[in-house]
């Protein structure tokens, strides 16, 4: 299909949509192909939707961590000059309503760890890690929290299957609002 025909087809589709869904509204949105959203489409969901191709284990992750994370979080996740709280451990949640929340004692889904590392870390250089580096770092932090073994491979298939210790301890506060 020529570019001109693509444009005509797209315009026709948008017109059809307008008629079907929003006959009276402005329809000023510019159509974009789902593939062209890819650079922003970085959310990794608990089911595994959004996880990229790649893999890593804790041994590899320890190297990435030392190079890219330790300056703030300290050696081996023990806490550092910028982020003093360790990245593992934490008391049982039964010890108080204000106990320190960690990956090991609180987080319900391992995909959250991948997702936040991917979108936000390193704090002053976000979205510079490769997929393999993110998988490896995720594996290393899960290993430090004694959730997986040192050589367990984390990838798009295995990550959603990691059973987080606190997964089943959440109460949805307002289920009727969902």
């Amino acid at each position: 299909m020529s570019m001109r025909n693509v444009l005509i087809a797209t315009a026709a589709a948008v017109l059809a949509l307008g008629a079907a869904y929003a006959a009276e509204t402005p329809n000023l949105g510019q159509p974009i192909a789902e593939a062209d959203v890819a650079a922003w489409d970085i959310a990794a969901l608990p089911s595994g939707v959004g996880l990229p191709v790649g893999s890593g284990n804790a041994v590899e992750g320890a190297k990435v961590y030392a190079a890219k994370c330790a300056a703030c979080h300290g050696d081996e996740g023990k806490g550092g000059p910028i982020v003093r709280a360790p990245l593992f451990g934490g008391p049982p949640l039964t010890e108080g309503i204000d106990v320190r929340k960690t990956i090991g004692n609180f987080w319900g889904h391992a995909t959250t760890l991948f997702d936040f590392t991917r979108r936000a870390m390193p704090f002053n250089q976000p979205r510079t890690l490769t997929a393999d580096e993110i998988y490896a770092t995720t594996a290393y932090l899960l290993y430090l929290n004694k959730i997986i073994g040192e050589n367990d491979v984390i990838d798009a298939k295995t990550l959603p299957q990691v059973k987080m210790p606190n997964r089943d301890n959440f109460i949805i506060r307002f289920p009727d609002k969902i």
């Binding site: 949509l17 922003w40 703030c72 039964t94 108080g96 609180f106 109460i171």
Partner: protein, 441 residues
């Protein structure tokens, strides 16, 4: 709660206008005179010598200053500022709290609206900013500030409150701080924007989808899961704040506005909405804004900012200048709807009187309440409790703590967040010298 119960102190009979203990007066005194007002006014003791004869001050005898393009408050109001948790922009979250104890009315000026930014404030060029709606839609669409500005816009008042606001109220001992320190992470503004439902319909959203992922253009690409249900209730893509474009710290050039919902869900610098069929379990919803409960379970998806009120005047940081008449006032709001009633107590919750509510009383917005009061100079404890039109009433602190718990050790600072979503009362203890402390009652 015994409304209208009178109490006398030390055998002194209470006035005929007293409606609750320790000098709370009939709120009709605020509504345009009548016997109650005359009586209340006459009951106040006029003390001291007559005022000096009047004469012109220097500023009345000279031409004033140049008119600026952008107004700022008088130089005598320099103390009316936000307090900052991270003034040097270190690599952590920055909170700026609204000075409620220095303000009145219901609108928070844009310069004083609270902000929380987790990785600084992005410097966004509005001409290049884009909002994409994609995922489970028929046609992904991109919008710009220019195109959204052409839509039929909607204007409404709405409060915004951080889920962690009033976190220090979880301390087992009262933290001595102003209403700004304790409750400064809530503000109220008039927001103007495009109903999100229109944009979702234009993209052809799959109505079997239950969730949206809303994401910002900040360096963290902060994202939150929002029920599609809320999007079709009253969600806006807001592009104006109190009549002008959004403040940078409040999400310039566009943000999600979810009236009544936890502040962090109102994603700022909004650049992406993905329609999905499962929640993202983002860092901020699955970790930061999930609350540990006594016993070790935790709340997740605590969307609503529930009914709440606090007295701003008089409050900690102020001092009463001797016995006599004072106007008590404060702020009430509910993420469930309109404020229906605010009760005020001057005796720590023994007796209560109904406050006057300033019209208009709008849903999911600040309502200013007022209560006339004649202080007899003895120690009192002032407190307010609000109810909303959905039938919810603020719990007492004891009721709240019974469900949500408190810390085992005193919290060191009002900047701490031991837990979230406190909506119990706040009590101000006035000593006989007029000084005010934060107390639990």
């Amino acid at each position: 709660m015994s409304q209208g119960k009178r109490r006398s102190r030390g055998g002194i009979p209470s006035s005929a206008d007293d409606v609750a203990g320790n000098g709370l007066l009939n709120r009709r005194a605020l509504l345009g005179g009548g016997l109650a007002f005359a009586s209340a006014a006459s009951a106040a003791t006029v003390t001291g010598a007559a005022a000096e004869p009047l004469k012109d001050a220097p500023w009345s005898l000279e031409t004033g200053a140049v008119t600026p393009v952008l107004q700022t408050p008088s130089r005598f109001e320099k103390n009316v500022v936000r307090t900052l948790s991270n003034p040097n922009n270190e690599m952590r979250t920055s909170h700026a709290r609204t000075p409620h104890h220095l303000l009145d009315g219901t609108v928070t000026p844009n310069s004083l609206h609270f902000t929380i930014n987790h990785s600084g404030i992005p410097d966004i060029d509005p001409a290049q900013h884009k909002l994409v709606i994609h995922g489970m839609v028929k046609q992904p669409l991109v919008f710009t500030l220019d195109t959204l500005s052409r839509y039929p816009l909607v204007t409404r008042m709405a409060f915004l409150e951080c889920g962690g606001n009033s976190g220090a109220m979880f301390s087992n001992e009262p933290v001595q701080a102003t209403a700004q320190g304790l409750h400064g992470l809530v503000s109220n503004a008039e927001w103007t924007g495009v109903p999100l439902s229109i944009l979702l319909d234009e993209a052809g959203v799959d109505r079997s989808a239950k969730w949206l992922i809303a994401e910002g253009a900040d360096s963290l690409a902060l994202h939150r899961s929002v029920p599609v249900k809320k999007a079709y209730e009253d969600a806006l893509v807001a592009i104006y704040q109190n009549g002008e474009r959004l403040m940078p710290g409040n999400g310039y050039p566009m943000r999600l506005l979810l009236p009544g919902y936890q502040g962090n869900m109102n994603v700022k610098f909004l650049r992406r909405i993905k329609v999905v069929n499962e929640p993202a379990m983002s860092y901020y919803e699955a970790r930061t804004y999930s609350q540990i409960l006594p016993g070790g379970k935790a709340y997740r998806f605590h969307f609503l900012q529930e009914v709440k009120s606090f007295i701003t005047n008089p409050s900690f940081g102020q001092a009463l200048k001797g016995p006599g008449y004072y106007g008590i006032s404060g702020i009430a709001y509910s993420g469930n709807g309109r404020i229906a009633k605010v009760m005020v107590s001057a005796d720590g919750g023994t007796s209560w009187a109904e406050a006057a509510l300033q019209e208009p009383v709008l849903p999911k917005a600040f309502t200013r309440f007022r209560m006339p009061w004649r202080w007899d100079g003895q120690p009192v404890v002032l407190q307010s409790r609000a109810s909303d039109d959905a039938g919810n009433t603020q719990p007492t602190r004891a009721e709240f703590v019974a469900v949500r718990g408190q810390t085992k050790k005193p919290v060191a600072s009002a900047n701490a967040f031991p837990n979230q979503h406190y909506n119990g009362p706040t009590s101000w203890g006035v000593a006989s010298d007029g000084s005010i402390k934060h107390v639990y009652a």
